[in-house]
């Protein structure tokens, strides 16, 4: 008579048993590998680079609030500028787009290469700075001229347009080129010259900017010296201010500020990388307030987001006639509209 196992004693057959054992072993093995590979809970990095105390902005210093935010029309945003009609012009990818005060897209200029910088003159002429030359467009967007740089290694990173002159900041040749409206180079500003007491620009990464101030002088950032310098249009150094410190009142890291703008009353807006922040100084260089602190740019933590090229981090700023500050976040790819509180 064949023996029959009691139901409560019936186990798996051989195939089922090996299947269960194999699955269990696999699960335990994966869990063990994950446990071994992961850092232990609460294990702090003994070599941590801690700048957390500098990334908090005293709320009493923040004088602006964000009104709205617009995405940039294309990827790889680099610069922005405000035109005479308070239209915003944004360089992103191989394009320059105009945005209205309400953020609506208007003109789109397609360029032969990456748009590095832009400036708009009072008559609406648009100057688009590519890496090694400048393209000129009329107010309707029709291409009018192409201005070459005298040096093949030029890297234009800032433009400013006046009534008679256009100023182009070259971050590789360490000079601001002065063009007349016909595209002829009529001067070089900021090159090292002991006789003229000009120390020269120190630009470790391609962030050299220039603005034409209401007082008739140029303002140029000198990031390696942590200064903002004032030059006459003929290249005489009239003064400089700024100090290296990670604290809110100075310029942090190795090389800041990276971008400049001017408020209608002459105060200067500065942008920094590393501890990304936008601040306001008086025309004489006294720290006043913060437009946006590091807390506003969490994605902008590293200056260098590209393995081989450090231009894809940082901020830029522009100001319209009403004093609104537009901040371009190169990493997040958006434009933030900031208005003074109260």
């Amino acid at each position: 008579m064949e023996a029959v196992m009691k139901p409560e004693l019936e186990l798996y057959d051989r195939r089922e048993f090996f299947g269960v054992v194999t699955k269990t072993a696999a699960i335990l093995g994966l869990a063990g590998a994950a446990e071994a590979g992961a850092p232990g809970p609460g294990t702090a990095n003994p070599f941590a680079y801690d700048i957390s105390r500098f990334q908090k902005t005293d709320p009493k210093l923040i004088a602006y609030e964000e009104v709205t935010r617009w995405p940039v029309p294309h990827k790889e945003a680099r610069r922005l500028a405000v035109g005479p009609d308070d239209q915003l012009y944004v360089c992103a990818g191989n394009y320059i787009n105009s945005l209205s005060r309400a953020g609506q897209r208007g003109l789109e200029l397609a360029l032969a290469g990456p748009a590095c910088c832009v400036a708009v003159a009072g008559d609406g002429t648009i100057f688009a700075g590519l890496r090694d030359h400048i393209e000129v467009f009329d107010a309707r967007g029709a291409r009018a001229a192409r201005w070459e740089s005298p040096d093949p290694k030029t890297w234009f990173t800032g433009l400013a347009a006046g009534g008679k002159d256009v100023f182009a900041a070259d971050s590789v040749k360490l000079a601001v080129l002065r063009y007349d409206r016909a595209g002829k180079i009529v001067g070089r500003i900021g090159q090292k010259n002991a006789e003229r007491n000009v120390p020269g620009f120190v630009v470790p990464s391609p962030f050299l900017d220039v603005i034409l101030h209401r007082d008739g002088l140029l303002r140029v950032n000198n990031p390696g010296r942590h200064q903002v310098e004032a030059y006459t249009l003929d290249g005489d150094l009239e003064g400089a201010w700024g100090k290296p410190t990670a604290a809110t009142g100075g310029f942090c890291g190795c090389c800041n500020p990276i971008a400049l703008a001017a408020l209608p009353d002459g105060r200067i807006v500065t942008c920094e990388k590393g501890i990304p922040r936008v601040k306001i100084y008086s025309a004489a260089g006294e720290f006043e307030s913060v437009v946006a602190g590091a807390e506003s740019f969490p994605e902008n933590a590293l200056a260098c987001n590209d393995l081989n090229d450090c231009v894809h981090g940082g901020l830029d700023a522009a100001v319209d006639s009403g004093g609104r500050v537009y901040i371009l976040d190169l990493v997040a790819g958006d434009v933030r509209v900031m208005q003074r509180k109260g």
Binding site: A48, Y49, S205, T245, C304
Partner: protein, 190 residues
């Protein structure tokens, strides 16, 4: 049902065992030949750290099986800004821009600062002192050009079958690379 008599089966037991022995012998010879060929040409792959994925976590300094990690900081001089205030060399708020120990970010003083001309300084790594902690890498990437980065040095690395640092890396930055291209270096596009 009639079962087939053993004398009519196509393969006898002796033939089966003989064929099996031949198969095992040939397989063994093949494995031996392959092992010898591999040994003569050396390992084809080595471990390397991808700087694009490195999170500067410090595990390279603490998880290598060697007493002093095989991971070292290297300098891409073509990318370096030669800054007077190098954030890979100095802590965030140095007392002074000097080489005094209190002013150095590196816990082992492995970075050598050499004056070039005003206001430029050269920064080079002493690999005898470097422990691969990535503190300077974080400082350089945060504020500077990111010219300092970590790499496994193959004159030190044991090329473990399972790299202990790779297992601990939170950024999954370690991978195998061909031995004839053992480094993943940064370049500069300027």
């Amino acid at each position: 049902m009639d079962s087939q008599p053993l004398s009519d089966s196509p393969v006898t037991r002796r033939q089966f065992l003989r064929n099996g022995a031949r198969l095992l012998t040939m397989t063994g010879l093949g494995v031996a030949a392959g092992a010898l060929a591999t040994r003569s040409t050396g390992a084809a792959w080595v471990w390397q750290l991808d700087p694009a994925k490195c999170l500067h976590c410090g595990n390279c300094a603490t998880h290598c099986v060697l007493e002093q990690s095989a991971v070292k900081c290297v300098q891409a001089y073509a990318m370096c800004g030669y800054c007077q205030l190098c954030t890979g060399f100095f802590p965030p708020e140095p007392n002074a821009l000097t080489t005094a120990a209190e002013n150095q970010l590196c816990p082992t003083a492995a970075i050598q600062r050499t004056y070039v001309e005003d206001p430029y300084y050269q920064y080079s790594i002493d690999e005898q002192l470097c422990i691969g902690c990535a503190k300077c890498v974080e400082g350089c990437a945060r504020f500077g050009n990111g010219s300092l980065f970590l790499q496994i040095r193959h004159d030190r690395c044991r090329n473990c079958n399972e790299c202990a640092i790779a297992r601990a890396c939170p950024g999954d930055a370690f991978r195998r690379v061909p031995v004839d291209h053992p480094y993943l270096l940064k370049n500069v596009n300027r």
